[in-house]
């Protein structure tokens, strides 16, 4: 430590503690709900995908799911890649 540093005010805090607080508040709000009733989001996702699959043959590997749990609101993002017209025609021909 240089002598000068002793007298200089410390650098402004890199306030990681406030990030810790915010993250904790959000995750705990969700975990506390999970304790009393089941978290419905994973189930919602499964059922939505199942409904789509009833209408079009989808490749399970081409379903992307993103869940972002927030304080005020959560977003569930489901991206299902539907087969293009070409593939659909082939499929229709095959099933005939």
């Amino acid at each position: 430590m240089r002598l000068l540093d002793l007298f200089r005010a410390r650098k402004p805090a890199q306030a990681s503690a406030s990030a810790a607080k915010e993250r904790l508040q959000i995750v705990l709000a969700h975990e506390r709900i999970g304790r009393t009733r089941e978290d419905f989001l994973p189930k919602l996702q499964q059922e939505l995908v199942a409904v789509v699959a009833r209408y079009v043959a989808i490749d399970p590997a081409k379903v992307a799911v993103n869940l972002e749990r927030g304080g005020d609101m959560s977003t569930l993002e489901i991206e299902i890649e539907l087969p293009g017209p070409q593939a659909m025609r082939l499929q229709a021909a095959a099933s005939r």
């Binding site: 002793l6 410390r10 805090a13 890199q14 306030a15 990681s16 503690a17 406030s18 810790a20 607080k21 993250r23 904790l24 508040q25 995750v27 705990l28 975990e31 506390r32 304790r35």
Partner: protein, 272 residues
């Protein structure tokens, strides 16, 4: 009837055993007949922290399995005469503990002691569940750090749903927050969660704040519960917590960074 107090945290290494040793010794110093039980079967450590490791003959598993009488397994402390320790087994695994076995031990101890302190192992497996099952009160040991706070919250949920009090609808387990390894200098720099933040998130009454202190390692080196080191800030903080627990109105201390003089800043000084 004795009061059963569990010292628990979910997360490992946050200071449960340090707290069990200090708090138990503190209660005994205040004249309360106190026994501290080590529930960490397979990883016995309370005996070392309390300095009785050379006197262990039988342990809790021997008692549960009928191989020894409770009185033979209890170790009476030589420093504080109202204090006793029931060690964990070092060789058996956690499955050697049974709910009925623990119930019998607690019932028997209830006749001779005022306080039964249960030092919980980390996690939420069998040993931890049994340590908290019979609790009337809980000391939630929490470090100002995200994973510790989250696990404390989880354990609070378990206490409210899976303890005997919860299952038999006997009223809520009384919860006390004990924040340990608190470093006011790091808090001031915004690097560590503030006490108020931890309190706000966990929302249970605060019993005490034990600062990060070198005296804790020193105490464990010599097998002396840190509360017996009356000079140390950690020892004093534990004593305050015991006094508060027994109903005294004691202000919180050691929440501000120690202001070092120029001399100590130049040549170093350590927290006692």
């Amino acid at each position: 009837m004795a009061e059963v107090i569990v010292v628990t945290s979910g997360k490992g290494g946050v200071g449960k055993t340090t707290t069990s040793a200090a708090f138990g010794t503190g209660l005994a110093q205040r004249g309360k007949r106190t026994v501290v039980i080590d529930f960490d079967v397979g990883l016995r450590n309370l005996d070392l922290i309390m300095g009785v490791e050379r006197r262990v003959v039988f342990d809790i598993v021997n008692v549960i399995q009928g191989e020894a009488k409770l009185n033979q397994a209890l170790i009476r402390d030589k420093r504080v005469d109202t204090l006793a320790i029931l060690p964990a087994s070092q060789t058996r695994d956690k499955d050697a503990l049974t709910k009925d076995g623990v119930r019998q031990i607690i019932e028997e101890l209830s006749r001779d002691f005022d306080y039964i302190l249960c030092d919980s192992p980390a996690g939420i497996e069998k040993g931890a569940m049994l340590a908290l099952y019979f609790a009337d009160q809980a000391l939630i040991v929490t470090n100002p750090e995200v994973s510790s706070v989250r696990d404390s919250d989880r354990i609070l949920g378990v206490l409210q749903s899976r303890s005997r009090r919860a299952e038999e609808k006997l009223g809520r387990v009384k919860e006390h927050l004990l924040v340990t390894r608190y470093d006011p200098a790091r808090v001031e720099r915004g690097e560590m969660l503030k006490l108020e933040d931890v309190q706000e998130i966990l929302a249970i009454p605060l019993l005490g704040v034990v600062p990060e202190s070198e005296s804790v390692l020193r105490a464990s080196n010599t097998g002396t519960p840190v509360i017996l080191d009356a000079e140390s800030i950690a020892g004093q903080a534990y004593k305050d917590a015991v006094d508060r627990f027994l109903g005294e109105d004691v202000p919180h201390r050691f929440l501000e960074p120690e202001r070092k003089g120029l001399f100590r800043r130049l040549f170093g000084g350590r927290a006692a």
